[in-house]
């Protein structure tokens, strides 16, 4: 069955078997090499359009956020402010805001009150400088509002795109979902380069200058809370919020993952997050869980709360409850 005979005994070397290196073969080889190189150059031509402006050695050699000295970080913040101004025409103030001592954040959301108006999802964009094609485009919002059938909590039949004349619709209720800032966060566990981690105040953050964009964290997240910058963020100057944090709402580079940080540039200064500020029904409650007199502790002690997908073992810092 074997079509070729055993070749034992063929003792010619390859050099003997193949054509020897002559002037003619050399010229042919050279011509082929030239064609090959030209083809290679042609293949790489699109790279000419690469934005080299922000592709500096400084950026390339930047260390992980947690290894930076205050000095280095200061220079990086200056550089990032300059980049933002050059690219988007707005000079922001990018700050590095550290967690406060004795503070651990938690969030609670009253599903009995939420009417599904999506003001939180839109406010998130106004605050956090996500990419958007128009004023109405909230695809990069960290908050998804789900419309669910009364009678169950079946996420699989939820509607994200509902757009009736008025909400709430009869027979439906609404559940906003955003990053749950899990205590056992699967996203930080899987990151191969520790570009995302949990801060002492419980907020899961991303170092956008360290993320390699493998999107493993997005696969790991059970709450669909992470967004990836598939292209360079599109943002009109009038939409930019100049009050920015290094770990939160500064404008992200292309090719990195971003997420809700409980608006840490606000909340670490003692303010409420943007989504809470705009909620027309007061369904959102935020506070310091280590403060026994905080609103959030009142909820945890007096209301019957639950967490989303308790079965996946993430132990969220985001609680849901039903109350009038």
């Amino acid at each position: 069955m074997n079509p070729v005979e055993p070749a034992d005994g063929d003792s010619r070397t390859v050099e003997q078997a193949c054509s020897p290196l002559t002037r003619r073969t050399f010229l042919k080889g050279s011509a082929a090499s030239a064609v090959g190189l030209a083809a290679m150059a042609a293949a790489l031509r699109p790279l000419l359009a690469l934005e080299k402006e922000n592709l500096t050695l400084d950026a390339l050699l930047q260390r992980h956020y947690r290894e930076l000295t205050p000095d280095q970080l200061g220079r990086i913040l200056d550089r990032l402010e300059g980049e933002c101004e050059r690219t988007y025409g707005v000079h922001p103030e990018i700050r590095d805001i550290r967690p406060r001592d004795g503070t651990e954040f938690a969030y609670a959301l009253n599903l009995g009150r939420c009417i599904g108006c999506r003001k939180c999802a839109h406010a998130c964009l106004r605050e956090n400088n996500q990419s958007r094609d128009s004023d109405e485009d909230i695809n990069m919002s960290y908050i998804r509002v789900l419309e669910l059938e009364k009678g169950g909590i079946d996420l699989e039949t939820s509607d994200h795109y509902y757009d009736p004349g008025t909400v709430p619709r009869p027979g439906k209720y609404y559940m906003p979902v955003q990053c749950q800032q899990c205590r056992e966060a699967p996203c930080t566990k899987v990151c191969p380069v520790r570009a995302t981690w949990k801060e002492p105040d419980g907020v899961v953050v991303v170092d956008y200058n360290w993320c390699i964009g493998c999107r493993y964290c997005m696969a790991a997240c059970p709450y669909d809370a992470r967004r990836f910058n598939y292209s360079k963020p599109k943002l009109a100057a009038k939409h930019i919020n100049p009050d920015q944090g290094y770990l939160s709402n500064r404008i992200r580079p292309k090719g990195v993952v971003e997420k809700c940080t409980f608006c840490l540039h606000r909340t670490r200064e003692g303010k409420y997050p943007a989504c809470l500020e705009v909620c027309p029904t007061g369904a959102r409650v935020f506070g310091n869980i280590r403060d026994p007199d905080s609103e959030i502790n009142y909820i945890l002690q007096n209301k019957r709360v639950y967490v989303l997908k308790e079965d996946v073992g993430t132990r969220p810092r985001f609680y849901y409850f039903f109350d009038k």
Binding site: R144, Y272, E277, Y298
Partner: protein, 218 residues
């Protein structure tokens, strides 16, 4: 949302008639003479709002407007004052709401068992609300009035988990405002009204097979 809007031409005209009518018998406050009431109306400055400002001035990019916006009474717009007793001095206090000639026509009392005007409004001083013992509750203290019945809600409100707080969660760092009952609820019909939702997300442009019929179902 804007549930106290009351701007129909009919009420405007009847308001004028009413104004002319009672102007002849009553001295107007502020010493203005009845002759000046028409056609040039006096400029009325609104009294300082009794509800505090909402949120921080730095958060201009966030729409923190409370859900309920009142637009004032027609008579006030016509140049009347906010002193309810200007009219109610004449009109006897009634437990039941009857059909008023001019003002308050749009009020529909849909507040469950709470169906008498004087359950909340003070019988002799209509500028104030009434407490259990007949004493007055100032308008700015409206929360105390509602708390008469809604004790558990009031308790939650005090704890900051019913209604909305704005500004600083950490009061050591800055000030905090808290919405009061009637900034969100219409006291005569306190059930939250329906509202138009803001724009939804779209089926991702790059994704395969976008839904063909109208908007996406899932």
């Amino acid at each position: 949302m804007r549930n106290d809007r009351r701007t129909t031409d009919a009420t405007g005209r009847s308001g004028l008639v009413f104004l002319a009518l009672i102007a002849s018998v009553l001295p107007l406050p502020g010493g203005e003479s009845a002759a000046t009431a028409t056609p040039a109306l006096p400029v009325v400055t609104k009294p300082t709002p009794t509800q505090p400002a909402v949120g921080l001035p730095t958060d201009r990019h966030l729409d923190k407007e409370p859900p309920r916006a009142t637009h004032g009474l027609d008579l006030v717009k016509m140049g009347w004052t906010y002193n309810c007793m200007d009219c109610h001095r004449l009109l006897e206090a009634k437990w039941h709401r009857d059909a008023p000639m001019v003002e308050h026509q749009n009020i529909r009392l849909i507040h469950g068992e709470n169906r008498f005007c004087l359950n909340c409004h003070h019988p002799t001083n209509r500028n104030a609300f009434v407490d259990y013992d007949g004493s007055e509750i100032a308008e700015s203290d409206v929360v105390r009035l509602c708390a008469k019945c809604h004790g558990t809600t009031f308790r939650d409100w005090q704890a900051g988990v019913h209604g909305r707080r704005n500004g600083y969660w950490d009061t050591a760092s800055g000030s905090r405002s808290q919405l009061r009952c009637i900034q969100c609820h219409d006291p005569h019909a306190p059930k939250f009204p329906v509202m138009k939702p803001l724009a939804p997300p779209t089926y991702p442009a790059r994704a395969a097979h976008p839904p063909t019929e109208g908007r996406a179902q899932h």
